[in-house]
Subunit: 90 residues, 4 copies
Amino acid sequence: MKKDTKPKALKRLARIEGQVRGVAKMIEEDRYCVDVVRQIQAVRAALSGLEKLALDDHLETCVDAALSSDDVSNRKEKVEELVQIFGGRM
Amino acid sequence: MKKDTKPKALKRLARIEGQVRGVAKMIEEDRYCVDVVRQIQAVRAALSGLEKLALDDHLETCVDAALSSDDVSNRKEKVEELVQIFGGRM
Amino acid sequence: MKKDTKPKALKRLARIEGQVRGVAKMIEEDRYCVDVVRQIQAVRAALSGLEKLALDDHLETCVDAALSSDDVSNRKEKVEELVQIFGGRM
Amino acid sequence: MKKDTKPKALKRLARIEGQVRGVAKMIEEDRYCVDVVRQIQAVRAALSGLEKLALDDHLETCVDAALSSDDVSNRKEKVEELVQIFGGRM
């Protein structure tokens, strides 16, 4: 991960952890289910944003380096991983 | 939320919180981006399952009660909320 | 379906049918796979829009009528169908 | 596109075109909206399968060839296109 991506990602994760605890508190306090669901959706959106951040970083570092290198099997491996990961996003 | 759904949801949230902390640790330890992304996807899948649990509970309690009641505007409100929530899942 | 939704939906379907034939032509002419994939994605987006049109119409007609009626089992049936349909969108 | 993928894709497209016409007929005959929506979802699923077929073919032909070649800029271009296309699937 790039030097400036790392603290950004960790900051987002700290916020996401707080959101997860917030959902637990809502359930403990018997808050309205619809509000709970909306809050869970907000956490999922935050995680999706973090995933995009990590993916973009990966593309700009490891994948780009592999594509520039002479190592054919490493290039193919990196792209196969990418296809797998994108499959998991859907 | 139903009596047996609540502890189940809280248990899942405790596990999800642990997973989120695990992702932070992976990033701190400079683990391979692809493994980080996969772990984020696993957390999102866990949250999606929790959301389904909360939604199903809501359908079986609040929505079902509203549909059985004589309060037309409450019935419509519940269904409108439902449509909104489902929109947020997509 | 409402009187003004029907011609709108049919017009969209005629366009979608043309798009599907367009994709077939692209494949027959050995056009670049990436352009084919993009065109398929455009057709899927058009179908998704049509689905939303049909769903909104359904909500404003059948579902709204059921919710206003005294027939409890019809209300529940309509909402169950809705939940199923939304599941299929995801 | 590979020799054996092309007829497969065209066959699927012919079926999809028939399905689209089927949806139009359902709307013309004022069939129940929920059945119309379900049929639209079936067409979308068929298109999604076709898209996967075209994507897999593209990976096995153009992308694989680019990754094996000495042309760095072509490799990067192919992977950028891939990332874009996957973005459109989501």
